[in-house]
């Protein structure tokens, strides 16, 4: 008898596995203990990120706990001291054989047409542990197949082995209990409720975890067979969570994206946007060649790279103060650094901003101490959310946080603009109206003992009315437990000033509070870190204190942010405007201003992979390679670096983002100093202390990726918060975001394009009743304009506020946003003015 080296703590539970003495962790499930010791037990229903249910009985093993041997499901059984386990015994084998024979009794022989064929646990287990020959000659059970259970997922009930994984995921993990078992006996089936499709933002995960081919995803159905697929690990770039993924391609086309179980980030879960928006790169309207506007016809015409580069070079040879760049959040870190070096270090302009006025002030994000997702989700802690419903903006982070709050007892305090999908589980939830979050923070901080030299300025009495909640929140924030504050932009119709105020007050309440910026654009954290923000150079260093030996120059003035850039451009103060993978006509809140800006700039240069309404108006368009086509690095909202890897070739002449500024620099007679991505990495490690220890080659290959150590040498000054706006008879507007919207990645993915719902104004049912709104629309007046907008009754909306998502089909909610610090709209029953 040998004693194996216990892989974990020695103070565990001793047990015997197939004659070997081992040690399990306290409370560890037998199936996990076996996995950890290299003994594989076949399974279908057990999933290590969900609670066990013991549905399938595939994991039966012979266990002797001192009362004689018995077959027990190892996924339901915590290891107990002196337990003796046999996974190879006759009885175990017979049980495995029997379970498989019964599972296959009603299973169709669909393997050749089944998308799971070739990677199917049922196939694998049947080969490895099954009987080999069938004794079943009777007619099998039949269902209509397949049936769509949502726009993205199809269900084949004949193949389902009733493992309860999909249904458990939907109700326990995603909190969308839209699928369930119905009927009895051999007719038991997974199904949706009548008229309620399984339209969850997370539906793709059920397809990934279904152990058979019962659930298939529309975008991948019949696209390839598992043995065609080539795969590479990468990071999802659609939002700033940075979920780890594997990209699978066949015939040089990405055909599937799967979630990777990264303990630090996404636990293998993905949102459907992260999972399916790869379609945009293969099927979207790609820009394949450099385009230059023909002066005579005004049309964009394909040209060669050097022609286009020459044209851009000429446009960059004007006063630096007359050059501005907007965007860059979509690019890998390398592209962001190269652009920053070209624009700030060579051209010398500081008018560079990666955010489209839809996030939080760059200095705020750069200057806050960061929490990791695991810090925030650690049992026993407190999380404060300020801003948006994470389910709509950062869905994978939402899943992690939901687990922490629902399963692990993390306490949640919500200071969000509307109720969220976590509000039911929040310990304290405030009814925050636009403009008042700073005052709530002040009240909480004062109660918790912060030394503030100002009082709550709350004319409307809103804070006063929630005094008991203030007390409850203050008690949670007394500093005895770790606190993470997740800050986002929950309301586009409200100045981010109020959010900054609240953050500042929490900062002053306790220095140890950690923060997580919930900005939604892909690699926005990389962009800020690389200095694509006015006033900063890479590494979060302020412009005046920049020490960049490899840079020819740094700007000698403080630049404008995106809003100011567009204003200046509209007034003719900008000659050259670069749009780095930005589509401001769609994404910037004042579309009219953008149009005027584009019209008044001499040269508009768009760098993008997909043709948009904005690139159509550019003078020069440079084609960039997209997700899955280039190697690079991603920085997520924790500051964690993870790799982006190329799996397919970019179309035609499209180039990796970092090459484009390198090429343009040569046109300007300067070398950026790197001709390969490795040289770029060396330079980053050399000039930025936070990147000094990064091992670029092994990035993310063995662990979850290094988290950047952010040492800021400067402090943000927080002053007195702006007073909350007075109460009015009008509704205060909350402009929100939806996951499925008119954005480029969704619209260019054929399977997702139809998912956004029509824009509607959401009001609290009490308000609807009080104001006597009837029918399905209302008249909304803002300034001297009136609009008729569909009305939805929504309990999530705070009283006296009106919530409307931007960027949806139908009514363009941007027309309601005034650009004042908060926006008030008058709402009347339809038909009145």
């Amino acid at each position: 008898m040998t004693t194996a080296e216990p892989t974990e703590a020695v103070t565990g539970v001793p047990f015997t596995l197939n004659g070997t003495e081992l040690v399990a962790e306290e409370g560890e499930l037998l199936i996990d203990a076996c996995d950890r010791n290299g003994v594989h037990i076949p399974r279908f229903c057990y999933h290590n990120r969900m609670k066990p249910v013991g549905m399938c009985r595939m994991c039966l093993v012979e266990v002797d706990t001192g009362r004689g041997k018995a077959l027990q499901p190892s996924c339901m059984l915590p290891v107990t001291p002196e337990m003796k386990v046999e996974t190879e015994s006759e009885a175990t084998k017979k049980a495995q054989d029997g379970v498989l024979e019964l599972l296959l009794a009603n299973h169709p022989l669909d393997c050749p047409v089944c998308d799971k064929g070739g990677e199917c646990p049922l196939q694998d287990n049947a080969y490895a542990f099954g009987p080999g020959e069938t004794r079943f000659v009777e007619e099998k059970r039949h269902f209509k197949k397949p049936i769509p259970i949502s726009d993205l997922v199809k269900l084949d009930r004949e193949r389902c082995i009733l493992c309860d994984r999909c249904t458990r995921f939907a109700s326990d993990v995603a909190g969308d209990p839209l699928i369930h078992f119905i009927d009895r006996g051999s007719q038991t089936q997974v199904n949706t409720f009548p008229d309620h499709p399984f339209s969850s933002y997370f539906s793709g995960n059920t397809v990934q975890i279904c152990p058979v081919g019962a659930l298939t995803a529309e975008p991948y159905r019949f696209k390839a067979r598992p043995w065609d697929l080539e795969a590479v690990e990468s990071t999802a770039t659609v939002d700033s969570t940075g979920a780890r993924v594997v990209l699978q391609s066949s015939q040089n086309e990405i055909v599937r994206v799967l979630g990777v179980d990264s303990d630090a980030v996404n636990w293998s879960w993905l949102s459907d946007k992260e999972r399916f928006s790869y379609e945009a790169t293969a099927k979207g309207d790609r820009i394949e060649q450099p385009l230059v506007k023909n002066e005579e016809t005004g049309m964009l015409e394909a040209t060669r790279w050097n022609n286009a580069a020459k044209k851009v070079g000429a446009a960059l040879r004007v006063e630096p103060d007359r050059i501005a760049a907007v965007g860059g959040a979509r690019m890998p870190l390398e592209g962001q650094y190269a652009w920053a070096k070209l624009l700030k270090g060579v051209v010398g302009t500081d008018h560079v901003d990666a955010q489209l006025d839809d996030g939080l002030p760059g200095p705020l994000v750069l200057g806050l101490p960061r929490a990791t997702i695991n810090d925030a989700c650690k049992p026993g802690g407190v999380v404060v959310t300020i801003g948006a419903d994470l389910k709509e903006e950062l869905p994978t982070l939402f899943l992690r946080l939901r687990h922490a709050v629902v399963e692990d007892g993390v306490k949640l305090i919500e200071l969000t603009s509307t109720a969220t999908h976590l509000s039911d589980f929040a310990t304290v939830r405030f009814d925050v109206t636009p403009g008042s979050v700073g005052q709530f923070a002040t009240a909480i901080a004062k109660q918790a003992g912060a030394d503030l030299d100002f009082d709550v300025a709350d004319e409307s009495g809103l804070v006063e009315a929630q005094a008991d909640k203030v007390a409850a929140a203050a008690a949670l924030l007394d500093g005895s437990v770790p606190v993470t504050i997740i800050v986002g932009r929950g309301n586009l119709a409200e100045s981010p000033r109020f959010t900054s105020d609240a953050v500042g007050i929490f900062r002053r309440l306790n220095d140890d509070f950690q923060f997580m910026p919930a900005l939604r654009r892909g690699n926005i954290n990389g962009a800020l870190e690389m200095g694509l923000v006015p006033g900063f150079t890479p590494g979060g260093v302020q412009r005046e204190s920049a020490q960049l030996d490899t840079w020819p120059d740094v700007p000698d003035f403080d630049g404008m942010d995106t809003k100011e850039i567009f204003r200046a451009a509209a007034e003719g103060r900008i000659d050259t405007l670069l749009l780095l993978a930005a589509n401001p006509l769609q994404d910037f809140l004042d579309e009219d201003l953008v149009r005027r800006a584009l019209a008044n700039v001499k040269t508009v240069i768009a760098v993008d992979g997909i043709s948009t309404e904005t690139t159509d108006l550019a003078d020069v368009v440079l084609p960039a390679a997209l997700f899955g086509e280039v190697d690079g690095t991603f920085v997520n909202l924790e500051g964690r670096l993870s790799p982006l890897r190329a799996k397919v070739t970019p179309p035609s002449q499209a180039r990796p983002d970092w090459m484009i500024p390198a090429e343009l620099a040569i046109v300007l007679g300067v070398e950026l100093g790197f001709t390969t991505i490795d040289e770029l990495h060396s330079e980053l490690s050399e000039v930025l202390p936070s990147f000094a220890d990064i091992d670029w080659d092994t990035l993310g290959s063995s662990d979850d990726g290094p988290v950047l150590k952010l040492n800021r040498s400067w402090n943000i000054e927080f002053g007195k918060p702006a007073a909350a706006p007075p109460a009015t008879s009008a509704f205060r507007l909350v402009a929100t975001r939806k996951l499925w919207d008119q954005g480029t990645m969704v619209q260019e993915s054929p399977s997702l394009a139809s998912l956004p719902s029509e824009a509607a104004i959401h009001l609290n049912p009490d308000d609807i009743e009080r104001h006597g709104f009837v029918g399905d629309s209302v008249t909304v007046r803002i300034g001297d304009q009136t609009h008729t907008i569909p009305l939805t009754s929504d309990v999530r909306v705070n009283p006296t506020t009106a919530s409307i998502p931007v960027c949806l089909p139908g009514f363009d909610a941007r027309t309601l946003i005034t650009g004042r610090s908060t926006t008030a709209v008058e709402i009347r029953p339809n038909g009145t003015t």
Partner: protein
């Protein structure tokens, strides 16, 4: 020293002389006859259809997966509900065989779960460019009578378009030798129901008959 025995075979063959069999009269000649071919010769493929005209191929890519020469390219797609190409959910919408690579091993035929791909006895085809050598689905599909299409560069003779879809597994589906000897020929368009083939390790009357044919042929050759 075992290799000497190997060389001995080579040496013997050197002095045995060659048997190159000419078609009688040559192509287009007076008699122009092809030599008889063995029953199970592997020639150019066909993609079969069911009696109702539905394609048998379901685009499962098993043939492509098993092909040792990597010469088959298949893509599956969802059957359009209004105009299904094959029974069931999936059909093969791209099907190509590259005859510059195919070694006619018949593995694809064995892998096919629907008996969609089979091999005719035709090997008399050649091409002068690469794209002709890549047979597409349109060229491989049989016509509505179950007969292979005859392409301009192929030398088909009367009766050769029979015997195109008969096929047999080398082993029983279960892989067990004991299951050999059960009916394995398919009965379908262009062919007939066949008696079961024997297990490979057992000599049966059919084996004797096949050998007799072979002996006859050899004798006929000797006579010239």
């Amino acid at each position: 020293m075992g290799y000497l025995r190997g060389f001995a075979v080579t040496a013997k063959k050197i002095f045995e002389g060659v048997t190159t069999k000419q078609y009688e009269g040559g192509k287009g000649g007076k008699t122009d006859q092809k030599a008889p071919k063995p029953e199970r010769l592997h020639g150019r493929h066909v993609l079969n259809k069911y009696e109702d005209g539905m394609e048998k191929c379901i685009g499962c890519e098993l043939c492509a997966g098993v092909c040792p020469a990597n010469c088959i390219y298949v893509r599956g797609a969802e059957n359009p509900p209004s105009d299904p190409k094959s029974p069931g959910e999936r059909f093969g919408y791209v099907y190509e065989i590259n005859y510059l690579r195919c070694i006619h091993c018949d593995m694809c035929v064995e892998a096919c779960p629907t008996e969609a791909i089979t091999e005719t006895k035709l090997f008399e085809f050649s091409f002068s460019n690469r794209s002709d050598a890549i047979y597409t689905k349109d060229e491989l599909l049989v016509d509505d009578d179950g007969r292979p299409q005859q392409l301009p560069w192929e030398d088909w003779r009367d009766g050769e378009d029979q015997h195109t879809s008969g096929w047999m597994r080398a082993t029983a589906p279960s892989g067990k030798a004991s299951a050999q000897g059960t009916v394995a020929w398919s009965g379908e368009l262009g062919y007939g129901v066949r008696a079961p083939e024997a297990a490979q390790n057992v000599r049966t009357p059919i084996d004797a008959a096949i050998e007799a044919v072979a002996v006859d042929t050899a004798k006929a050759e000797e006579k010239g």
